[in-house]
């Protein structure tokens, strides 16, 4: 019996529930081609960062103005160039090329926090042929004067802004630190989001003891990190009218299966691919298929959300029960 691996995500029909998350592997055409060949349902391109867009654009302007007209003998210090290939240009070209040569949905990603001019790139994504947009919001509230309402409103405004200039599906990738995630998810939906991606992993800076400098660092995830998105997907599944994607901690067959049971529309994978290569995705998919076959599932859709909080025999287990059981089961040595 052939198992139907297809799923629906953001209103898009995907051939499998495994999506390549944003990583350097999805940043060029070769990588995207391999991802398609490995059987992934879709690919999310690396984030185009607000800071990066603005910095690059300002840099080009700065280069143009660098030392210009400041000294009588030098009109400037660089020749004018015809093309500066700033990040967004290359990015947009990649969307176009990918759409021309590949069949799987291509989802470009925008990463930022403000409602500035950079959001216009969402429209450019759409014009370039993108199937959907992933908005990756990276915001750390460091000012004690900033309330959680202000922070949440910022997200809502961002989603509304993008929605106002685009018509393709929009997924919002957020972190886990919200006081009432279901309510916030509902508001995002109302603002125009079509899906949630749970959860993004923030860069964790480290300290270099030799130089006493702060060094940026990004550790690859492990399977143990799966449990946080797993819980929230289970809670949100069926409660909000949003597609749900799990990210962080998706490494093995079991991770994918658990997420689907909890209610994820897709599971997205990045760290495992960076560690093991793109073929790893194909192996996981084969294993998922085998498991489904062995367990007599007809399709992915059949199992999706079957163990969500709403459908769980023990809904409380996704809330405090976990904690209680952990205490209860604990046996002192």
């Amino acid at each position: 019996m052939s198992v139907d691996l297809s799923t629906e995500y953001l209103g898009l029909k995907l051939r499998s529930p495994l999506v390549a998350a944003a990583s350097p592997l999805t940043g060029d055409l070769d990588g995207l081609r391999q991802i398609e060949e490995a059987g992934f349902g879709a690919a999310v391109m690396p984030s185009l960062f607000e800071e990066q867009i603005e910095a690059e654009e300002m840099l080009v302007a700065k280069l143009q103005d660098h030392g210009a007209e400041s000294f009588v003998e030098a009109s400037g210090f660089f020749p004018p160039l015809e093309d500066y290939n700033i990040g967004p240009q290359k990015y947009l070209e990649l969307i176009e090329q990918a759409k021309k040569t590949l069949k799987i949905p291509i989802i470009p990603s925008l990463n930022g926090v403000s409602t500035g001019g950079w959001l216009w790139y969402a429209k450019r994504f759409q014009d370039a042929g993108a199937d959907a947009i992933e908005l990756n919001v990276y915001y750390l509230a460091t000012d004690p004067g900033t309330s959680c309402d202000t922070v949440e409103q910022r997200y809502i405004d961002l989603v509304s802004s993008i929605r106002s200039v685009t018509s393709i599906p929009l997924a919002v990738k957020i972190g886990p630190q919200f006081s009432s995630l279901p309510n916030f998810a509902k508001r995002l939906r109302e603002a125009g989001a079509d899906g949630l991606v749970l959860f993004n992993r923030f860069m964790q800076p480290d300290i270099d003891l030799e130089t006493l400098e702060v060094r940026p660092g990004l550790q690859l995830s492990t399977s143990s990190e799966l449990l946080l998105p797993l819980r929230w997907i289970a809670i949100l599944s069926g409660r909000v009218d949003l597609s749900l994607a799990a990210t962080t901690g998706v490494h093995q067959r079991d991770d994918v299966l658990k997420l689907l049971l909890a209610g994820a529309n897709v599971a997205t994978m990045a760290s495992a691919l960076l560690r093991n290569g793109i073929d790893h995705g194909a192996r996981v998919l084969t294993a998922v298929r085998t498991w489904l076959e062995e367990n007599e599932y007809e399709s992915v859709r059949q199992m999706q959300g079957s163990l969500s909080q709403r459908h769980s025999a023990d809904p409380d287990s996704f809330e405090r029960a976990n904690y209680m059981r952990a205490i209860t089961d604990f046996t002192a040595p």
Binding site: I53, V60, A61, E69, V72, S75, P80, L81, L212
Partner: protein
């Protein structure tokens, strides 16, 4: 016909690009932009009228460029070049050849002063007049329009006449003036060039299929006759030029004649001139004739071949007196060239055309080095010509109180049109004022029926340079070839200018005054100096303020206030309806930053919108209330010459100095930069004595000698001002228990931040707090001024008591190079400063033209200074190309003087034991030098009058002098290389330091042979494809040359060691010093620390090659470790490399890979070299 706004260089270069196949270039101000444009257009694959992309090739000098032109012409290509001044002179030998061979070509010349008593980059005709004997046709353009049109006419004529042509126009006044012109489209150019003449040119090419011999040597029997054989061609040329002018007129409606007459048909007084002065003269003549006078002017278009008949025909029969005006000077001649030509023409041919009496001819000079030439001066000249015995060989525009040549004029005479807008904008080089004004000219010129003209004046500083933009807007074409001195709009874009200069001196009554002010309309009045308040009241100015910095910052544009100020100008000048103006500004922004993207556009749009909201009119009180006057830029303690002359130049009144005020031979005092207090930094470094480790890195790295270190006995502190910082000196470089201070010179610091970036000492409690920290100057200025004054009064450590071969030790010596106007963060100047600390009191410097000669020797002040004994570096600049030879000559002279002194001593004072002591004394250490000085002083005190006059004159040379040849890579690698090679081969005791910025920095970053592979530079817009020349290896090949490659910020210790070794080595020494530069596109606050990456990546391996004079040994010593960082990691931190990665990623990938291979290969080679033994062979 399409109207565009361009400058003269672009106007000429466009025709040159369209009509040529080979373009051979070399940078020289003010012609460089023509080559830059040609290179950029070729890089963009633009084509000429033959459908091909011209080949643009940079050569090693103008001589080389001319040689390449000559060769390309001989091989049949239509070929051109662009140059000026010394560059043109270097082309002379080839120009004689090209003309002698009757070869069609046009050189485009931004005419510039030839260096005499001083270098000047500005415009006059001394260069083109110097080559008038070469046999080239010479067409003079007097405006931006004509720079284009004469380029066309010259190209048409040269193909027909076979006489090569110069198309020349005045440097800066025309080459850099932006004006609205009618463009010759490509089709026009195509239509005006005859194909058969082009083919005929190609047919004359060397071709082995029909071989010829050209360039023979001839003997007395035939040379003369053969030289005369060209005469018919020259005779035919004026008619050919005239025909070309007529063809241009048929196509464009613009009619030129060989000699164009303007003025009254019955004029009695006529002036004759050429170049940009024509514009001012036309205006004066029109006004004088309106007043009922009868005056006129002949504007010369074709100066060579000089058509006597045409000139005489152009003159009205009523002409009674002619004044020929030369923009050049020929000392000792019977008159300047144009005067002599006119005189000859009138004498030879007047009576053939006119029956009236032959007019009198006088001649005079004007406008040398872009000296202003105004309608008022021309009116003054016409007044002189009314006299029965008008002055001949006069000057106009200066006050010659020595030879009494100058004519008076009345500045009240003005030809400015009442209805025109005349705006002056005072800005900083870095604030975008000039760019915004150029933009305004474009907006007006290309989108309205109005005419617009922009001209830009800069001071000679590279950091904190003040720019004054002159903008005229009119319903009529603008030919006013002089600065605005009656402005109806003045924009002051920096508030602190009000404290330093008189920005309102040229404001007319009732003018609009727009001030960028941190204070709002309600409070600004009280912040103005009293003199400014008085002028605002007395001239009844309409006074507006805008806090442009805040608007720019809110729009996230940093300090770029240009958009804000431009918007306010449009709003206040009402040149266009406000909505239209805003729209046009935004369109212009879109055009300028189209390649940058949405963010840049949006931020600029925000600045435009924010500007209008922030613009406020100030209600001007009836009386001045301020208690403070404008501060003097000059210290009151300065010496007489500085007070009399330098102060005037600094105040912007240099034009008023009479001839008698200036040195007759170009000799100026040193030690003058210290009197000028520019105070340009917003933040200055403040020392935290508690954390400091006394390492001296801040001091050694400071490009401006504005952070200094002194060690002193504690007792000195008894008279220290309150708040003077001190700590115990940690180190063994000086004997005894010492205190120390690191002190900022608060008014001399540029705020570059290099010292803070390099400081290794951090607070244990707050990591970002270092031993020096940038802090707001306003909070520290008064205290630091007082601290610095006291610091200066502390005696420097005795030179013989300090270990000089360490960073700390070297920094205890007084720098004798201070407060230069170099760029903030300059990578060159710390080397020069360090040299002066080590050898300054006996240093003789030959300085190649370039950045170092400009920040070192451009008036008004010089950073080369003197110690308490009055000793210090003595400095001179000869040319660009000859600096090694120039310094070599100095060495010869110094050696000769020492030998002469020794000889006379031995001959006349043989019995005096002091003589033997002096001759045999070692002069290696500081103690040796001090002892030798004492001996020589003792000797001099014993010498008697006439008997020892010669010995007295040369006795100082008995103390060894340290001769240093200083220059940049453009000089050492390219134009001066053959001389450098010769001097290195000489075996003589000379020291060369190459301040290697890897581009021609002074002229704006053109590629040199020092430019690395993969870097984008002007003249290498596609990225340089060949590797950097290894100058060090070439020098090492001699075996007896000391060579070191150094990078101060990477290893100051190695740099110091190399300098000491080079100076001590009795033969030739070459130091190649990595010099970070604004042209690299790095954050210049990291200019020293960035060198560490250059060395770690192997991009700049540091080494020393110490010739083994005592027998076999390993002379080559690598002073750095094997590269640990990739080239790419280093390169992508610099815009010059990362630009290529953006513009052409594939090519960048290829070139970066090759550059990495260059590094790997070189490292392997150097590693092997380190094990090779060699010895210097000597007697």
């Amino acid at each position: 016909m399409r109207k565009v706004t361009v400058d003269g260089n672009e106007a000429a270069a466009r025709v040159a690009f369209l009509t040529n196949e080979v373009i051979s270039i070399y940078p020289i101000t003010p012609a460089s932009p023509m080559g830059e444009l040609a290179d950029a257009w070729a890089a963009q694959r633009q084509t000429n009228i033959f459908g091909a992309v011209p080949q643009v090739a940079e050569m090693q000098s103008e001589g080389g460029a001319a040689g390449a032109v000559h060769g390309a012409l001989q091989a049949g290509a239509l070929t051109t070049t662009f140059t000026a001044s010394q560059g043109l002179l270097l082309m002379m030998p080839n120009m004689f050849k090209i003309a002698g061979e009757l070869t069609s070509t046009v050189f485009h010349i931004a005419a510039r002063t030839v260096a005499t008593h001083a270098l000047s980059i500005f415009g006059d005709h001394s260069d083109v007049m110097a080559v008038r004997s070469t046999g080239w046709g010479m067409l003079a353009a007097s405006s931006v329009q004509e720079a284009q049109d004469m380029a066309m006419i010259a190209q048409m004529a040269t193909l027909k006449a076979r006489v090569p042509f110069l198309n020349f126009f005045d440097g800066f006044r025309t080459s850099h003036e932006v004006n609205k012109i009618a463009l010759l489209e490509k089709e026009d150019v195509q239509a005006l060039i005859d194909d058969d003449l082009v083919i005929a040119h190609r047919d004359r090419a060397l071709n082995p299929d029909r071989p010829v011999l050209r360039g023979t040597a001839q003997n007395p029997d035939v040379f003369f006759q053969a030289r005369e054989a060209c005469n018919p061609f020259y005779q035919a040329t004026p008619a050919i030029v005239s025909a070309a002018m007529n063809r241009l007129a048929d196509r464009t409606g613009r009619q030129y004649r060989l000699f164009d007459y303007f003025g009254a048909a019955d004029a009695e007084r006529v002036i004759i001139l050429m170049g940009s002065g024509v514009g001012a003269a036309k205006e004066a003549i029109a006004k004088l004739n309106d007043q009922g006078q009868r005056v006129g002017m002949v504007a010369i278009r074709l100066f060579r071949p000089f058509c006597t008949k045409s000139l005489i025909k152009a003159l009205p029969a009523s002409t009674r007196i002619i004044a020929a005006l030369d923009r050049t000077k020929e000392p000792g001649a019977t008159g300047e060239p144009l005067y002599q030509d006119v005189l000859t023409a009138v004498c030879e041919a007047w009576s053939e055309t006119h029956k009236a009496a032959q007019p009198r001819v006088v001649g005079g000079r004007y406008g040398l080095s872009s000296k202003e030439f105004t309608p008022a001066m021309i009116a003054g000249l016409f007044d002189e010509l009314k006299k029965d015995a008008p002055k001949n060989h006069f000057t106009i525009g200066i006050n010659d109180d020595v030879s009494q040549t100058s004519l008076p004029w009345d500045d009240a005479f003005s030809t400015e049109r009442e209805a025109d807008t005349r705006a002056l904008f005072y800005g900083l080089g870095s604030d975008g004022t000039v760019g915004a004004t150029k933009n305004t000219v474009k907006i007006i010129g290309e989108n309205t029926d109005l005419h617009a003209q922009g001209y830009f004046v800069y001071d000679s500083r590279k950091s904190g340079a003040v720019t004054v933009s002159h903008l005229r807007i009119s319903r009529e074409p603008i030919e006013s070839s002089y600065l605005i001195d009656r402005a109806n709009f003045v924009g002051c874009h920096q508030f602190n200018f009000l404290e330093k200069m008189d920005v309102l001196s040229f404001a007319e009554e009732g003018a609009t005054f727009l001030l960028n002010s941190p204070y709002d309309a309600a409070t600004v009045w009280d912040e103005l100096p009293r003199d400014v308040q008085q002028v605002v009241i007395s001239k009844r100015l309409r006074f507006y303020v805008v806090d442009a910095l805040t608007v720019a910052r809110e729009a996230k544009l940093g300090g770029r206030i240009n958009t804000v100020m431009q918007t306010c100008f449009f709003a206040l000048s009402k040149m266009l309806p406000q909505a239209e103006a805003i729209d046009q500004i935004k369109q212009a922004i879109k055009k300028t930053y189209a390649k940058a993207g949405e963010t840049v556009l949006r931020r600029n749009y925000d600045a435009v919108d924010g500007a209008l909201a922030a613009l406020c009119e100030v209600s001007v009180p009836k009386e001045a209330t301020s208690q403070h006057a404008r501060s003097s830029a000059l210290s009151d303690n300065s010496p007489d010459f500085v007070q009399r002359v330098t102060a005037m130049i600094l105040a912007g009144h240099g034009d008023k100095l009479p001839v008698s005020a200036l040195p007759v031979d170009g000799t100026f005092p040193t030690a003058t930069a210290k009197w000028e207090k520019r105070s340009i930094a917003q933040e200055i470094p403040i020392w935290d004595a508690g954390i400091c480790t006394s390492c001296g890195l801040c001091s050694v790295a400071c490009p401006h000698a504005a952070i200094r270190m002194k060690a002193y006995p504690e007792r000195i502190l008894s008279s220290a001002p309150e708040g003077f910082r001190t700590r115990v000196y940690r180190g063994k470089e000086i004997e005894g228990q010492m205190s120390m201070t690191i002190q900022v010179a608060p008014d001399d610091c540029t705020g570059c931040g290099v010292c803070v970036d390099l400081c290794p000492a951090r607070s244990k409690e707050v990591v970002k707090h270092k031993a020096i920290n940038m802090q707001a100057k306003s909070e520290h200025l008064e205290r630091e001024r007082s601290n610095f004054d006291f610091f200066l009064s502390i005696p420097s450590a005795p030179r013989d008591k300090v270990k000089r071969d360490t960073v700390k030790g070297s920094q205890l010596f007084e720098p004798l190079f201070e407060y230069s106007g170099a760029c903030a963060g300059c990578g060159e100047t710390p080397y020069l400063k360090l040299l002066t600390q080590l050898f300054g009191d006996r240093m003789v410097v030959a300085n190649a033209t370039g950045c170092s000669s400009i920040y070192g020797g451009n008036l008004p002040t010089t950073p080369w200074t003197q110690n308490a004994e009055g000793r210090g570096p003595t400095w001179s600049n000869s040319l660009f190309e000859d600096n090694a030879e120039f310094g070599f000559g100095m060495r010869l002279a110094v050696d000769q003087q020492q030998a002469l002194a020794q000889h006379i001593m031995q001959e006349t004072l043989a019995d005096d034991p002091l003589v033997a002591e002096i001759i045999s004394a070692p002069q290696e250490t500081e103690a040796d030098i001090i002892a030798q000085r004492q001996r020589v002083e003792k000797l001099k005190s014993q010498l008697k009058g006439d008997q020892h006059a010669h010995l007295m004159a040369v006795a100082d040379a008995l103390v060894d002098r340290s001769v240093w040849i200083v220059g940049g890579d453009g000089w050492a690698y390219d134009i001066g290389f053959s001389g450098l090679d010769h001097v290195l081969a000489s075996g003589r005791n000379i020291n060369v330091i190459v301040l290697d910025t890897e581009v021609y920095s002074n002229t704006g970053g053109q590629a040199s042979k020092a430019t690395p592979r993969g870097a984008v530079a002007k003249f290498a817009a596609s990225g340089k494809s060949t590797p950097k020349k290894d100058l060090g290896m070439i020098a090492m090949a001699y075996g007896n040359v000391y060579v070191a490659q150094i990078a101060l910020g990477a290893s100051p210790r190695q740099t110091i060691r190399a300098m000491l070794e080079a100076a001590a080595y009795p033969g030739p020494s070459l130091l190649i010093a990595y010099s970070t530069c604004i042209a690299h596109g790095i954050d210049m606050s990291t200019s020293q620390s960035h060198m560490q990456l250059a060395v770690k990546s192997g991009y700049w391996p540091i080494y020393r090659y110490v010739p083994q004079t005592a027998g076999m040994g390993q002379p080559f010593q690598l002073d750095c470790r094997k590269p640990t960082v990739s080239f790419k990691e280093f390169a992508l931190q610099e815009a010059r490399f990362s630009m290529l990665a953006r513009s052409n990623p594939k090519e960048a990938e290829r070139l970066f890979a090759l550059a990495q291979q260059d590094i790997n290969e070189r490292w392997q080679f150097y590693s092997q070299l380190a094990n090779v033994e060699r010895a210097v062979v000597h007697d």
